[in-house]
Symmetry: C2
Subunit: 281 residues, 2 copies
């Protein structure tokens, strides 16, 4: 039976490291400060925001919610983002997405200063990621995948990795991070012929499509490490893209949903906030 | 015997299209104008610059050389780039690289306005490429690979592609462009285990490493299309990364060096210049 790669111990290890760094910053009179920009009052957004604010508090960081009406104009939102950019007391910012349809999402995301762009939304952060530069932040969930591998002692160097799903928040950035970690990376998607065979080539398989149960025993082989980043709701129950039990009968290790990569993402956000505060000195 | 994918007909087709578009712009009183920034007097740089200026002239575009001393300070160079950004008569700019060691190359490249960054050097252009946005320019040689495929009727959609080499000017951007064209893309490099086997998986193989003859019959299979983007000098003779004759005995099509992808790059630069002028209207 495969190892179950739980997110909690990874998150705990990251937070333990961050607590030390926050204490060092506190000695210098600095408290990392996060701004969360939320448009409208979607219950999911509000619950997510509350959990982020709670994480900040627990870690000794400051946080503020900037709640704006969902029908705010694009220019007004950009003006707000520019206020955040100009405010030296704010070290990092998270803009809850998706943005309303009436906005040019790329233009809004690009407005955030790259040094405060904790979730790697704007083109400057994404370009720095693509260029392998360390002066900007990768999208948090993509980086959470790499944190999982690191914690569990799985070095991507010299291995074959496959990423299923090419979203800009997970699949594509995870592929870049794996490449920078010296994996040979195959980027798969809906147009990939014989997906099961391509997945079986991989030593490390990262799945982030958003289709419940799409990865089964056919995609799996012995020795493989599988990170399931899918988040789906089936009959009111949260599940991933991987048929965990089937995969666990064959692979070496599988991360569950819930309790896998998703449990690491909030700690990566905190890590980016603390790093932004350290860099701002 | 494999088809030989020559660059010349591709370049000619691009230039034919551009000539029409330059004529349309001329009717509106607009002449696309390129600035080439060159540091120092390297003979290779100067020859390349002359050929670019000649291409502009032939196509009815304007061009100017901005020649600066090789020991210019970084801030002075950035100030010059900002002049180019602010000059509405200049539609696009090419900064000849590599820059001198005393400069932070990324910072200099980032200074160029993305709408004038014809060779996709800066992080905003690279981020836009990575995000699949069409509002910036991809590195010219990477795009030349896609122009070759398009001209010769090879649609990457649903095919497997492998890119060998992960440079920021060819390998990585070519991988992104193939992904956007719906290929399943594998990114290979010096740490790839069993490179010949990985290459043989590919329907489309793009090689851009810079090691003469590194790709031979072992990496090739029937039906494969190979683009050789390597540029090497062996005994004073120009050659690519692929043993063209060996590969041609097995694959369906191979591009030669010289006379392959490299012959298309200058036309892609011209295409970016004309597009920049069209967008500036």
């Amino acid at each position: 039976m495969a190892d179950l790669l739980l997110g909690r111990p990874v998150a705990d290890a990251i937070k333990e490291d961050l607590a030390r760094r926050v204490a060092v910053l506190a000695e210098k009179g600095i408290t990392p400060r996060l701004a969360v920009i939320r448009l409208g009052e979607d219950p999911g957004d509000m619950a997510y925001e509350r959990s982020i604010l709670r994480n900040c508090e627990k870690l000794g960081c400051a946080a503020q919610s900037i709640a704006l009406p969902r029908d705010i104009g694009q220019e007004a939102l950009i003006a707000k983002i520019e206020e955040v950019n100009a405010d030296p007391s704010i070290h990092g910012c998270l803009l809850l997405r998706p943005l309303p349809q009436h906005m040019d999402s790329a233009k809004v995301c690009d407005a955030l200063a790259p040094e405060k762009d904790l979730d790697g939304m704007g083109c400057r952060a994404l370009g720095a990621l693509f260029a392998g530069r360390k002066d900007a932040f990768a999208p948090c969930t993509a980086q959470a995948c790499l944190e999982m591998l690191k914690f569990y002692g799985i070095d991507p160097a010299g291995k074959r990795a496959a990423v299923v799903g090419r979203s800009l928040v997970i699949g594509r950035p995870a592929g870049q991070l794996l490449l920078q970690a010296d994996a040979t990376v195959t980027l798969c998607h809906s147009r990939t012929p014989d997906l099961p065979a391509v997945c079986r080539e991989a030593d490390i398989l990262i799945v982030a499509v958003g289709r419940a149960g799409m990865i089964d025993r056919e995609h799996t082989r012995p020795g493989q490490v599988i990170l399931d980043v899918g988040v789906n709701s089936v009959d009111g129950k949260l599940c991933g893209d991987v048929r965990t039990e089937e995969a666990a009968g064959i692979a070496a290790a599988v991360s569950p949903v819930p309790g896998g990569v998703g449990a690491v993402t909030p700690s990566v956000l905190m890590a980016h906030l603390v790093e932004a505060a350290e860099r701002a000195i």
